[in-house]
């Protein structure tokens, strides 16, 4: 129960990190957004058996974490929440992939290779996503999306979904707190109560979302997202952008670990 509240404070905390003043936070949001998208797409473009070629890509999150002073534990916890979904997606690979390969004298299904590759790729992608929020903040990301000419309806969906998550977690926290106070000896919620609790959660969250929406339309909100043009693109932003995109392209084109191994 208190974990949800704590993690809600933490999730919001991630967005707040973007307010700190450091080199990367001050970069133009559009540069950071496109770098993240290029990073994610490049990772996705790798062959499913590729592992060693992925290793240089760990450099990007590592450098961002160090420069922006992002609490590593905080970030890892968030990434770990997503891991079960990734594992479930790939867990059957070793069974379905019938090829056998040999590494170091051991023979095993190449499905394990695809599994490890999947986990590595997905974890890096998720980390890049979180780092984008931590260095840019949701409002700036939305602004960058508008600058990329993404239709405002999608930008609004993105913003409102993000806000809705907090409303949902807030209501979930309240429900769980109320339950825990009347079921002191239990750990967690009894299965036969799940159905009604989830139903309640959805109805209450929907009602709250309605009220928040009403307060928005009473203030003249009409569904159009207007960009307040922030600062312009500077030379430093361009340099940052070119540096990272070049690195990503090179790391994709050449398998750097293998190259280093060959040279040694």
């Amino acid at each position: 129960m208190s974990d949800i509240m704590r993690s809600m404070f933490n999730v919001k905390h991630l967005d707040e990190l973007s307010r700190q003043k450091n080199l990367i936070n001050d970069m133009h949001p559009l540069a950071k957004l496109i770098i993240t998208l290029v990073y994610i797409c490049t990772l996705a473009s790798f062959d499913r058996y590729e592992i060693s070629g992925l290793l240089p890509f760990v450099l990007y999150p590592m450098i961002v974490i160090m420069v922006c002073d992002i609490p590593f534990g905080n970030l890892i916890k968030r990434v770990l929440i997503v891991e079960p979904f990734i594992i479930v997606a790939g867990i059957l690979n070793p069974i379905f992939d019938k090829n056998i390969i040999e590494i170091g004298g051991f023979a095993f299904s190449s499905g394990w290779l695809t599994f490890v590759s999947l986990i590595l790729k997905s974890t890096l992608m998720v980390t890049a996503g979180f780092l984008l929020i931590a260095t840019t903040g949701i409002d700036d990301i939305a602004r960058a999306l508008s600058l990329m000419r993404i239709p405002s309806i999608f930008v609004l969906l993105f913003l409102l979904t993000y806000r809705y998550i907090f409303v949902l977690m807030d209501e979930a926290g309240r429900l769980l707190k109320a339950y825990a106070l009347r079921a002191p000896d239990q750990k967690g919620v009894k299965i036969k109560v799940w159905g009604s609790m989830v139903g309640q959660l959805l109805i209450r969250t929907y009602n709250r979302a309605q009220t928040i929406y009403q307060s928005m339309i009473l203030k003249g909100y009409n569904g159009k997202y207007s960009i307040t043009i922030g600062r312009g693109f500077k030379l430093l932003d361009a340099a940052y952008f070119v540096a990272w995109v070049s690195f990503i392209v090179v790391a994709r084109a050449i398998n750097i670990p293998l190259l280093i191994a060959a040279l040694i």
């Binding site: 009220t211 307060s215 009473l218 203030k219 003249g220």
Partner: protein, 251 residues
């Protein structure tokens, strides 16, 4: 033409589940009036506020704000002149900083940033929370949230200010601060509350709702000091008018 008046004529509203929340509601509010709307729980106060702002539309009767009838076509215009402060500030503070929440309304009016900034700073100064402008709303105390929600509404410079339970859940000092701020506003004010002492302090005129009908509409002191009548409406007289609990002297 006065933008500051509100007129309801024989308004009736029934919820989809069949519950009739308002029956034959008629009143006229003039420019600059401060009116308190009181009633027991379920009397119809919140429904009435939703009708005034066009969130709900009555099945019968008419609502006019200024001289504009409230219907789906005139909503944008009507909402420019009415500012509604909800009972629950969390439902009104949804941006990542107090500044952005207070700027939300003016930005929707497509004002340029300089004008938005001046309105925001003015609103924050009026409620005395300029030092909180960069704080995320979820880190504010109850009283601060209430003030932020009020600032977020007055930054739109409405002609009429409607407040749903403005002093609910506030500690005595925060309550006094909100009351002093509201007294300083020159808008036409409609305040619903269970805090009868505040209504007595701030509103010259009071409307009493009972089971969706208006059962009294007149001078605040006359109505609120009538013990028998208040009891019939499911209320009590204000604490300030009750017997002194220390010396037991009758007031």
């Amino acid at each position: 033409m006065s933008h500051h008046k509100i007129e309801l004529k024989e308004v009736c509203y029934t919820y989809p589940d069949g519950h009739q929340a308002l029956e034959n509601i008629s009143f006229l509010l003039g420019h600059g009036e401060a009116v308190g709307i009181v009633g027991a729980n379920g009397a119809g106060k919140s429904t009435l506020l939703s009708i005034l702002t066009g969130i709900l539309f009555p099945q019968k009767g008419t609502v006019r704000v200024g001289d504009i009838p409230v219907n789906k076509k005139t909503l944008a215009e009507v909402r420019r002149s009415i500012g509604l402060v909800f009972q629950e500030p969390d439902d009104q503070l949804f941006m990542t900083s107090v500044y952005d929440d207070v700027a939300f309304g003016p930005r929707n009016y497509r004002l340029d940033e300089a004008e938005v900034n001046s309105r925001v700073m003015q609103a924050l100064e009026e409620v005395g929370i300029t030092h909180l402008k960069d704080r995320p709303p979820y880190k504010l105390s109850g009283g601060e949230k209430r003030l932020a929600a009020i600032a977020a509404v007055i930054s739109m410079k409405p002609d009429i200010l409607i407040m749903d339970e403005p002093t609910a859940s506030l500690d005595p000092k925060a309550r006094r601060k909100v009351m002093n701020i509201l007294k300083g506003f020159s808008h036409t004010k409609i305040i619903t509350s269970h805090d009868l002492d505040m209504i007595m302090d701030m509103c010259v005129r009071t409307i009493v709702l009972k089971n969706g009908k208006i059962v009294a509409d007149g001078n605040t002191l006359d109505i609120l000091s009538n013990e028998k009548f208040m009891d019939e409406c499911g209320l009590e007289i204000p604490l300030a008018l009750q017997n002194c609990p220390i010396c037991k002297a009758n007031k």
